[in-house]
Structure formats: C-alpha cells, structure tokens
Subunit: 692 residues, 2 copies
C-alpha cells in the first residue's frame, strides 16, 4: 500500500512541478502582454489545487507510516511561541516594567516581515488597482466618532468581581462557564440541558445587557480565581479617550479603525479623482481598542495595524470591470446556507458561480474576495486552511447588504483576519448628516433622458395662514419628501385623510388637502445625484502575520527540536545568509564582498563568521526563515570560483559562480526564476555531513 | 559680461555632467566590488560642490539679467501651499468638521512621497548599517515616561487670557511682542533698549517660570486679539494622556518620541545581537505632542512620524569603524565657535578635520552627521541650504556630551529637521534605576588584565551593633559605592571624620572608622561591565518632507503660474505618465499596455486619456512632480513603433521603442542610467508647440 501511495505522491509532485512551470511561463507572457491576467490566475488556482492534492496524499502517507509524529495543538503553539520570542519576532512591550497586557513590540525579524507583507499588500491592492492612498491621524475629535456610531455603540459587556473590582468580559466568562458544564465528566448534564446550553453558547455574541445578565444569574457564573459574585453586565466603550489642545475642553479618541479617515475625506478624494466613480481609497495605519481582557498574543491586542479599503460605487450598479479576472478562482466559501446546513463545512466554489447564484451579493464584493484570496496565497498562508465565511443575517448591521470574513485556521481555531462588507451608503450618509456637508456624487447620463418625476408644490398662502411662524419649516419638510413619501401624502390627501410630515429637527405637522399640490410630470433629466455605496475590505495585519507564522512553521523531519520558519522569500525578513566555511581572511573577504553585493541589490542579508559548524549556522537561520544560504569555501577563492547556494526547504545545494549569486538570489526572491530552474542550470553539491 | 558668465555656466554645467558620469560608473564598480564605498561618497561630495558652483553662477546670471523674477518668501510659500493643497499632498484633517489645529492628512501623492522617503531612509540607515529595527506601541504606561523624565519635564510655558481663557505659548507671545517693539518705526526704541531686548530675545528659550513671568509683566504683554491681561506662565505637559485597561487605574500617555521603546528593549536587543557592542537600533513610527498652539503647517503638528536611531557604544571608545567613508565629506558646519563669532555663518568643513580639531566630539557622532548629509542629498534637499548647527552649552541637557541639529533653510528660516546627540549613558541609567533591571553590557578584554581595584569590606558585627535593623541597608549602600566614592569615604575615615552613605530608598547613614575596610588591591580582571553610551540621530519625517517641497518647487521660466515639483525620481509619487496623443482605440490600447508594463516593473504610473492638449496634461503632471512622460502617437502604432519619452526638468524628449520604455524608466528611477545617457542613445524629438 505504501508503495502505491508513494507512486501517487511522486505523480502528484510531478504535476505540481509542471503546473509551477506553466504559471511561471504564463507570468512571463503576461509581462510581455502575450497572456491575460485571468489565465495566470486560473493557473495559480490550479497549482493550489494540485498542491492540496499532494499535501493530502503526503498526510495519508504520514498517517500510514507514522513517519511524522502529530504534535498536539498546544505543543505546536508553545514550540512556535518559543521560536517567535527567542528570535524576537515579537515580545511583550515594556518587559522591564513587567509588561502591559495587549501590547507587543516587533523585534528585527518581525519588523521586517511586517514591512514586507505591507509592501506586498500595497503593490497587490493600491498599485495594481490604482487606489488613492491616504494617511490620517490616530487622534480623532469626538464628533467624527459620534457620527460613525463608535461613541455610542463601540462597546463590550463587562462585569466586575464585586469584592476585588477586577474586570472581565461578560461573554468570555459565560462561554467559559458553559463550555466547562458541557465538558464536565463527573456531573454530566442531561442531553436536553446540553442542547439548551449549546444553543445559548451559539448566541452569546447576540445577547443584550438584560439577557446576558439573566444568563449569568441563571448559571450562577462567578469571578474566576476568587469565586466571588459578579456585578450585572454593563457596556464598556473600547476607545482610548484623551483630550486635544491645552484647554482640556475638546474630547478626542484614538481611532478604533482607520476607515473613518477615508470617509471624512470623501469629498476631496472624489475631486482628486476628477469627480468619477467608482474609485477606491486605502489606508494602512494603527488603530486602538482598549480591550477588557486581551489574550491570545497578536490575535487580540490594544494597538494594531490595519489596512483598509473603501471602494465607493453607485449602489445601483455594483458590477466590477475586472471581475472576469477572478471569476474562475475557487476559494473555500462558507455561505450562510452551508453554516445552517448539516455538514457545516466550507466548499470550494468559483466566484463567478457564487455571484450568478446570488450567494455573494455582487461582483465588486466577490472581486475583492478573489483579490484577498490571491493576497493570502502570495504571502504564504495555506489556501486549504483559509475560508470566506458569510455573516449570518443577525450578525450584520441593519444597513449592511452582505458581509464575508476571511478566516484562517490555526491552533486557536478559525481566526477572522479580513472583513469584507458591503456597507451600502450608511457611512457617507451618517457623516453628511452630522457635518451638514454634501457627500454625494453626480452621475451624468450619456444622453439626457425624459423621466417621470414627482413634483411637490407647496401652497404658500395656505401654509402661512395655518402654520404662521412654522410656515418655512413645513415648506422645507414637504420639499424634502422623496418620491415615494410624496406619493403617499398625495394618496392620503386625495382619499380625504390628513398626512403627517416631519421637519429635520423632529417637529411633526399635519397636512391637509389644499396645502400642497403633488403631481407626476415628465422632465428632461441630465443625470442623477446619489450617495455612493461602500464596499469595505478591512485587513488586520498582526493577525494575518500570526496565522502565516503558524502555517509556515515546521520541524525538520526526524528532529522536532529543529524549527524552520518556511517563509516565502518575498516575506522573509532576511533573504540570504553568507557563511565562510572556516575562519580564514580570504574566505571572510569574499563573504564580505558577496554580502555587499546582496545589499546593493536591495537584499537584506546576514554574514556569520562565528566559526560554528555549518549545521549549527543553518539551524540558527532556519529559525528566522532565511530562504537562501551562501557558503564560501576554499574552492571559492582558490578553485572554481563558485560558492554553494542552498535552499532552505528542500535543503538541496548548487554551485554558483561567486559573481552571479546575488543576481540569482534577486531573481528567486522576485519570483523571476524558480529553485527548480536554478538546480537545472547549476551543478548540484552534496550537503556536508553536519547539515542534518 | 553676460557672455563671460554664460561661458562659465556652460563650463560648470559640463563639469557637473562629467562628474555625474563618474559617480554612476563608480556606483556600478561598487556593485561589482571593484570600487570602495568611500570613493563613491567622495565623488558624490564633489558632484554636490560642482552643482553648488553651477547654481551660484546661475544665480549671479539671474541677478545680472533679471531674467527670473525674485518671488518674495510669502508669495513663494503661498504659491507652494496652493499646489500642495490642490493636489492633495496634504490637507487639514477632519475638514468637513471644521478641522483641528495641528493635524494633517496625507493625500495620495503625499502618502507616496512619505513612503518613498521612508524607504530611502530604511535602506540608507537600517539596511546599509545592519541596524536592528523595532516597532513599539504609541500607547505607553506612565512608569516608562516617568523614568525618561517626560512626565515631569516635557512641558512648555503657557499663559491664558484671564477673561476668555484662551491659551497661548508664553515664549511665542513674548517673542512676538519683543520683535514688534524692535520693528516699530513710529515709536522706535533707543539703541540701548534695543540691545536689551535683543539679548532677552536670544534667551527666551532658557527662561524659567519666574523670569518669564517677570519679562511678560515688565513689557506689559497682553492677550492677542482681545488685549486682555494674561495669567502668570505655568508649565503645561505636552503629552496626550489616556487610561489603559477597563479599571481606569493605569495612566498611559501617547509617546512623545519613539526612542523610549528602544531603550526599554535594550537588554533583549543586546542579547539578539549576541551580546556584542556597538550596535544600533532604529524605529520609524508616530509620536504625539499636544502642542499649545500648532502653526506653520507640517512644521509643528500634534501627530508626526519620527525615524530614530539609538547607537549603543562603550563610552570609553566612540571611534567608528566606517568613519573613513565620510571623513572627506564637507557639509556646512555651524559650530559653537562660529555662532558666537562675528560673521554668524556656517562654513563647509571636512568631517575628518572637525573631529581631529575637537569641533565634533567623536567619530561616531560625526559619522552620523555625514550619513545624514548624504541622506538629505539623496532625497532632494539642496545641500547648499542645509547646515549642522551645534548646540550652545546652555542648550544641552546636563548629561549630553555634544549635540548638532540638522537644519534646512526655508521661507520659515532655518528649520530643525534632525537632532544628533551624544546623550552619554543617561537613558539606560534612568531606566535601570526605575525598573531595577540591569541594563549594562560586558566587554571581555582580549587578555585578562591585572588591575588595581577598590575593595569595600563592611564590618558586619560593628554595623549590626550600631544600625540594628538597618544593618542590611547600610551594608548594601557601602557595597554600591563606586571606586571614587569609596576612596572619598576611606579618606574621611582615615582623617578621623565621619562619612555619609545613602541607601537606594534615600535614607542616609553616618559611617565611622571601624565599620568598613576600604583597600586598593590588584586583581586579575577579565573584562569590564559598563552602561553603554547612546548616540541618537532623530529625524522628523514631516518636517523633512516640507523642506524638500520648498527646495523642489519652481515655476517654468517665463510663466510663474506653471508650477513644477522637481522631485528626485526615487522620491516622486508617480514615476511616469502615459498619454495617448489623441483619443483613438489603437493609441489607448498601446498606452494601456505600456501602463501595465510599468506597473509590472513596480513603477507607479498614471494614464491620462482625457483628450486635453499634451501641454495641459504636462502642466497637471508637473504639479505632482512626475519625472517622466510617455506619449503614444500614430507613429507608435503604425510607424516606427516608438513612443516619445520626456524628462520633466529639461523638457527634452527622445523617441524610444515602445517595448523598451518601461525598462528605460526603471533604470532612470534606480539611478542605473542618466537622462544624459538616454538622450545620447535614442534620437531626439522636438517638443510639440503646445508644450510651453
């Protein structure tokens, strides 16, 4: 059986290699304008599927032969955390002062990865889509966040230990308590009770203050640690508050998201874009949330980097001109239907099908789902462990049309890394109402059209006689009616009833026949004024980094202590290391020259002249995920003038002339060549004995 | 006379061109390892000097012939501000809500320039110098800023209008008032009085609360606008305050500088660097200062990006291994001596000479001055309008060894853009004292040395008898004495006096003979433990951007309404524009293909199919400083297959085959070729009539 499997694996491996070549040649053709973007994307998708098939075969093999031990989630997480902290990818902030929960510092490799990932994001989205990038302050005056709803509604429910005053998130406490009840083997709950508890658990996120309080009381939830009674739950606003200016009279907050900076600039951005829609604006920057109980490392922190896009579009036409380029991609979709169904499992489906079947609301939203999926593939998240989960109806804000979360599978379960939401025209309307500034766009029709419009003509004399000083307010209220509301008034008046209209400050007035004339007329219309809808893809950079860390981490076969971070070259913090085989001036000199050439080519690199064994040096660089290593030996300076170039994951090695190695690595990092092509071109070198 | 000058200008121009070629060929040799970095830097320096000579000749020419009208500072500033706001380089934040002073948004071109400049900084400093980059949160717990001194001393003096409560910076009010007195032509002050006022003006920054208050009273300074009396000056802390966590009991501030994040991580960074010194850490991030009265656009804002370096070094040896690479650079130095002298003018001086003459305190500080100067040249600040000004003795903190500000000349005067300070071991000692964590480094001597050391041996029995429960504290206080303090105690005791020692919690104890034995002994010492000194170069990115804007801005000769932002290609937000000459499908198609090729080469570009005249389209792109423009005409699709490539500053044009143009622009942006070389290689094209 093993032999048959091994043959299948070899065949799958060959298919992956072949398809990899196809992708690369298509990419080259694309650059020369001889291929379409869609062809490349389809080929990439095909490649991902083939890799998936290979991986599943490999897993089957591992299971059958037991060659790779299956680490538990916790062990894997702890081992990875060890590498991440030891190598200073990130560490708790303010360590010498005992740290503060929810704050992390990125050390040198973490910092470099974050920049590389952000740069890939910027190229993939901002540059390729011609988005308008902006950068706005984090300190934000209250009025902006009042308009957006954050001052009133950006809250979590909190409870306190009545004796110690310690604070807890109410939903976390309740969830923990209920899960413990279900798992309690000594005092098992009845099947009926278990169902009640499971239903409650599924809906914890939707509870209000009173229902949350009732549930905490019913299950007698107590403060962890002390067992004391807890307070009733109350809403705690998650924004950091401060004061702007010297007088102390202007309340400010640290922004809880970067999006609002784009919305308040909509008018200037529209002007910048020549008045044309659709267009997208983007912002990368830090946001702040004063979490009640931060946990799970980078996954829930109080200061974090977001990359957000606001795509402004006419709500009547959400087609996307480039949709065809992603229509054939087949990411895992976890639709509302699948979540409510029996199997509760995401399924691959082409985005074209998802839109045509009405599963994804429109082309623009689906386009960004496709682009997001390609971005995750680029940076090294395993596409087989990433899905797009649709929000259930009750999860969405009332104004939202459709929302999907990009989720990645980790040892913490499925982690939400991206939110993709069609937010309709809510945001611009809210800011327009608060600021009294017009935030509409005008769409000029190609030809003026004759259209039936509803005209409202107030009878000033009659209004003046009845409403006196309120005449103006009533007139304005009538003129502000939209077509449907005006026709409602007309119908009421014609049937002999009175109608009611409201002024913008909330007064209501009773309208009777004769006070207003409402009629349908046909007019020449040159265009349409509308408040644009917004499609918002919002990325949490730190979360994506953490998920990528989990997917890239592995240990060398047969040695679980030898950790490898298998970063994609484009993301890797250091692209290459240079080792003189032994400590000799001539070798050090050549190593120095190669290092300078790598730097000149813009490639971050490390030179290691410690004189440790090559194996030890490889082990160190494996931990920070350096994809390529150059070793300089005596032959390099006295013999053939070549150096050894080694690829991290395959551990295969070739001999490359010293003068060419920087160019070869540059091409590998930029994906202009593949390791297969390099091993085809240059002679192989057997690994030294201490490499294993 | 004009003719002679013109000849001189031509010769100077030729010298610049020739030297430019030398620099480029040296750079190429450097990449191949055939030239030294120092040779390149010297050549760059020479080029800058030649450019300077050319510029001075050109200015003389302008003055003599009057060909370019001299705009006043205010007119230039207003004209530039018009371009910057119209093209959305940056605009006041929260505009639709009436804006908040001291906050700016970067629009698309500003955002791109900021990223490009930051990337140049990162390559120039972090990558080339192998610095350890970190990223720390802006939200900082109080203890960190208590240790650094910001909680107690990061203040400005403020006064308020006693009637309206409006707030003003005391020093700004006093300065404005004194300057008005000096400039008052109607009631001129006496020469004696004028001298007194000028002396006071020069020292406004050094006044304390009482002397500031006395001066405000003496000159009867009143609130601007209202003329009301003002309050006495009081210290206002410039940090934004907030609260961390749900309990509201942990005070936090937004960091006023990024440096502290590096200091608190010193121990981990030293470990990361294998325990070796010197090393430098760097951080790019936002800092926050709640300025009392923000003004002057980007020059004084409440949220701004800093790029800071902390170079940790043994205070006994501040030589720098790469100093030779910058020793021959000759930036304008404005030493203490020159500032106190008659001429009050900066002078060019080689950094080697400045160090050897003791003008700059040490090689490491001078090395960073040189690197900073090269950075400013790279991003397009005019080196003739940049100087390094040394702090006068009374400007420096007591612990600082030497400080220089990198200043750039603008219409606002000389603007401080970079601070370069030798801060001794102050910062690490302050954090070590507050956190009780050891922040020292250990230098192992190449060979163990026999050294005379001072030994302190407390007499436990005697101490116990005298101090009882305080015995331990006294013993620790004695053992903590450094060599000099111990010898002082020894001398006192031997002369029959009592000595006093202090415990770390501030208690003092009287020590008498017999309580301790203090002796000099010769011991084998393997190394030395010390708190490293810090050399800190600190860059204000927004200020540098604004200064660069002023230096790059000019108008087309003969048309002061045609603004050009003459950005260096590496900094320019958009590298190229693509114009179809007229609106025809074949032309649009080729333009689209070239645009895609530019994008694939990582070059931001704009395609303009508006059908406006080419002249109008050039004018638009000149304003956002696009260095290269590609025009597609009928010959491009039906004739020779070439397109027109135009360089912004010279407005000269060449014909380049359509398939080569992306590569040519990539090489120009990366400085791998020059425009002179391109015009030498490809045939020239006369500008169309509407270009002017």
């Amino acid at each position: 059986m093993t032999t048959e499997l091994e043959q299948q694996i070899a065949a799958a491996q060959e298919a992956v290699t072949k398809q990899g070549d196809t992708v690369r040649s298509l990419k080259a053709s694309l650059k020369e304008g001889k291929a379409e973007k869609s062809e490349v994307d389809v080929a990439i998708q095909k490649l991902a599927e083939l890799k998936l098939a290979l991986e599943s075969k490999q897993k089957e093999f591992e299971k059958t032969t037991g060659k790779v031990s299956s680490q538990s989630k916790e062990a894997l997480r702890a081992a990875l955390a060890g590498v991440l902290e030891r190598r200073m990818f990130y560490i708790p902030s303010f360590k010498i002062y005992g740290s503060v929960a929810g704050f992390y510092d990125y050390g040198p490799p973490g910092c470099a990865i974050k920049q590389n990932m952000t740069q890939v994001w910027r190229t993939h989205f901002v540059l390729e889509e011609n988005m308008l990038e902006v950068e706005c302050p984090a300190v934000t005056p209250e009025v902006v966040l009042k308009a957006s709803g954050h001052v009133d509604r950006f809250t979590d429910f909190m409870v306190t230990d009545v004796a110690t005053g310690e604070c807890f998130r109410a939903d976390h406490l309740l969830e923990g308590h209920l899960e413990a009840l279900l798992e309690d083997k000594k005092n098992p709950v009845s099947p009926e009770k278990a169902k009640v508890i499971r239903d409650l658990l599924a809906g914890v996120g939707e509870l209000k203050a009173d229902t949350m309080g009732a549930a905490l009381t019913e299950y007698d939830v107590r403060a962890p640690g002390t067992g004391n009674a807890i307070s009733p739950p109350f809403a705690f606003n998650l924004m950091f508050k401060t004061s702007i200016g010297p007088k102390g009279d202007m309340v400010g907050f640290l922004r809880p998201e970067t999006a609002q900076g784009i919305f308040v600039n909509f008018r200037d951005l529209l002007y910048y874009n020549g008045g044309k829609l659709p267009f997208a604006a983007a912002q990368i920057g830090n946001s702040y949330r004063n979490e009640i109980s931060p946990r799970a490392g980078l996954l829930r922190v109080r200061e974090f980097t977001q990359a957000e896009i606001e795509h402004f579009v006419n709500g009547d036409d959400k087609r996307h001109p480039k949709f065809a380029l992603v229509a054939d991609l087949r990411p895992l979709l976890y639709s509302r239907e699948l979540q409510m169904g029996e199997e509760k499992k995401a399924q691959p489906m082409s985005l074209g099908e998802a839109v045509s079947r009405g599963i994804i609301a429109n082309e623009t939203l689906a386009y960004f789902i496709g682009r997001t999926w390609l971005f995750f593939c680029k940076i090294g998240v395993n596409p087989a462990r990433m899905r797009f989960r649709q929000h259930l109806q009750h999860e969405m804000a009332h104004y939202a049309t459709d929302c999907w979360d990009g989720e990645v599978e980790t040892t913490y379960g499925w982690v939400e890394c991206v939110g993709l939401a069609d937010r309709s025209a809510y945001d611009l309307k809210a800011h327009s109402a608060m600021s009294k500034i017009d935030l509409t766009a005008f769409e000029k029709f190609p030809e003026p059209r004759m259209e039936e419009v509803v005209k409202v003509v107030p009878n000033n004399k009659e209004l003046g006689a009845v409403f006196k000083k309120d005449q103006k307010a009533v007139k304005e209220a009538l003129e502000a009616l939209d077509s449907n509301a005006a026709l409602d008034v007309k119908a009421k008046l014609e049937s002999g009833q009175a109608a009611t209209v409201s002024s913008c400050d909330g007064q209501t007035f009773e309208i009777k026949a004769g006070m207003v004339e409402i009629k349908k007329v046909t007019e020449k219309v040159t265009g349409k004024t509308y408040t644009p809808s917004v499609i918002e893809p919002s990325f949490g950079i730190g979360r994506i980094m953490y998920c990528m860390f989990e997917h890239c981490y592995y240990t060398r076969e047969g040695d679980e202590t030898r950790a490898v971070m298998g970063f994609k070259p484009v993301v890797a913090p250091t692209k290459a290391t240079v080792f003189p085989l032994v400590q000799k001036p001539a070798l050090n000199e050549l190593a120095g020259r190669i290092s300078r050439e790598l730097t000149a080519a813009g490639l971050s690199n490390l030179i290691d002249t410690t004189g440790n064994t090559i194996g030890k040096r490889y082990a160190r660089t494996d931990e920070i995920g350096v994809p390529f290593a150059v070793t300089v030996d005596f032959a390099s300076v006295e013999g053939d003038g070549s150096v050894t170039l080694r690829e991290r994951d395959s551990m295969t090695q070739v001999r490359v002339p010293a003068g060419e190695v920087a160019v070869v690595i540059r091409d590998l990092v930029d994906d202009r060549t593949s390791w297969e092509a390099v091993t085809g071109k240059y002679p192989a070198q057997k690994a030294p004995a201490d490499d294993e």
